[in-house]
């Protein structure tokens, strides 16, 4: 197997990254934690990954403070590979009802809103609805109380109380509302495919 290029996991200072790194190790992807804008060197890293831990406002404040917000935007504008998981998907949008008044990275138009789900938080498995055979019907694990209800470039949706966006792909950007790192073999396969 040819070695895959390195992934820069962005330090959002908002949660535990054990599961994510364990998963990347299982799928044999080399990854490092990046804590500052200077470290984000595109001759070293092929892909930037924003992990799915923490709340919207907390993550954005930390990224603004470390200067990583601007570095992530610049990375995206160059069309390089960028992946967001859970809150990592949400901060690609303009704002969130979770923390009103704090701007997201605004790479994508739209806002994150409270999920009107029968039980909250949403913790569990759902099947993806997608026109892509690599996603459709796959069971993946969700942990969230907020979600994006509509967006362009949606690659899969799910329904729990109401429909919401499960994944997005746009140019170099790929984002998942679910946690592929906790979604068994199917999740590993989804993550491996977008890191390949």
């Amino acid at each position: 197997m040819s070695p895959l290029k390195k992934v820069a996991v962005i330090d959002t200072g908002a949660g535990n990254l054990f599961s994510l790194f364990a998963c990347l190790e299982r799928i044999e992807v080399e990854a490092e934690l990046v804590t500052s804008a200077e470290q984000l060197d595109d001759t070293i890293y092929q892909t930037l990954l924003i992990p799915g831990q923490g709340r919207f406002g907390n993550v954005m404040e930390n990224l603004n403070q470390s200067g990583l917000s601007e570095a992530i935007k610049a990375w995206y504008l160059k069309g390089k590979n960028i992946i967001g998981i859970c809150v990592g998907l949400q901060i690609f949008f303009e704002s969130s009802e979770e923390d009103e008044g704090i701007a997201g990275l605004s790479l994508l138009k739209g806002q994150v809103s409270k999920l009107n789900s029968p039980k909250q938080p949403m913790v569990g498995w759902c099947s993806l609805q997608s026109s892509s055979s690599s996603l459709n019907g796959k069971s993946v694990y969700f942990v969230n109380s907020y979600a994006v209800k509509n967006s362009v470039n949606v690659t899969s949706k799910v329904s729990y109380g109401e429909d919401f966006v499960a994944s997005i792909a746009s140019n170099g950007l790929t984002a998942f509302q679910f946690h592929p790192e906790k979604s068994g073999k199917q999740g590993e396969e989804i993550l491996r495919r977008c890191l390949g």
């Binding site: 535990n16 190790e25 299982r26 938080p121 913790v123 569990g124 729990y160 068994g184 999740g187």
Partner: protein
């Protein structure tokens, strides 16, 4: 006062997949099984068993250190890390967690969620603190109830001490304080193999807006069918799987035959 929630289980999108959870009761680094919380039998190595159940299709693994002591804390943390590194499904750890610092330690060691039991009863404010600090999604409050006459009473300390808490009052408080899920063990069913207490589960889930996991009493696939039909969001078993009487995939096949949506992996 109980909050009444509309239940519309017939609508497909109102339910997540019914989760089958395997519990590893761990003592001194080995998986064990007791009957009615007493008399322990060795069932095997935690990492091996956890991976085996993941292969069988378990949707989550719960690891309960039933002999948690400060002296063997380091061993417990090491075992948790070994299991967490290998598992690609959610992993909950409980047993002997008494403080915010304990919780942080086990989350750092690789647990996705923690389960609090006696500590939540002794210091309910801990539920608020953990939910605020780490998010409600990583906090499961485990409740051991025993049926005393017609009342469900809450027990702590591994089922040894009766409290004055009435089960349904406690469920409401747990939810209000911000826990993400409740793991509800019917002690009077545990180890009996006669099925979950579905009367309890139906009543508990009808009034809750967080998910409730059924535990205690399962010995066959039909017991899982019955508890999901009663409204349980997830169901947990240990002994029936450890004794290799039935596999998780056989349970899931039976659930599918009964039109209960499960994760297929």
């Amino acid at each position: 006062m109980l909050r009444l929630k509309k239940k519309s289980k017939n609508r497909l999108n109102d339910r997540l997949k019914s989760r089958v959870i395997v519990c590893l009761d761990v003592a001194n680094g080995r998986v064990v099984k007791g009957v009615n919380f007493k008399g322990l039998t060795d069932m095997g190595d935690p990492v091996e068993l956890a991976l085996n159940y993941q292969e069988q299709g378990a949707d989550e693994i719960v690891f309960l250190d039933i002999k948690a002591t400060l002296e063997n804390r380091k061993n417990a943390l090491d075992t948790v890390t070994q299991v967490a590194k290998n598992l690609s499904i959610p992993f909950t750890v409980g047993g002997g967690l008494n403080s915010y610092e304990d919780v942080k330690m086990f989350l750092d060691a690789g647990a996705d969620k923690v389960a609090l039991n006696s500590a939540a009863v002794n210091n309910p404010e801990l539920i608020n603190q953990i939910s605020k600090g780490f998010g409600s999604q990583c906090l499961v409050v485990a409740v051991d109830v025993n049926k005393v006459g017609e009342e469900y009473q809450v027990y702590i300390n591994g089922g040894h001490s009766k409290t004055n808490l009435k089960a349904f009052d406690w469920f409401n408080e747990i939810e209000t304080r911000g826990a993400g899920e409740i793991l509800l063990t019917a002690m009077h069913k545990d180890g009996t193999g006669t099925g979950f207490d579905n009367e309890l589960m139906a009543q508990a889930t009808a009034n809750a807006s967080i998910q409730i996991i059924a535990s205690g009493g399962a010995s066959n696939a039909q017991h899982f069918v019955e508890t999901f039909k009663a409204g349980s969001d997830a169901a947990l078993a240990a002994g029936m799987f450890h004794r290799v009487e039935i596999t998780v995939s056989q349970v899931k096949n039976e659930l599918m035959r009964n039109n209960i949506e499960v994760r297929i992996c």
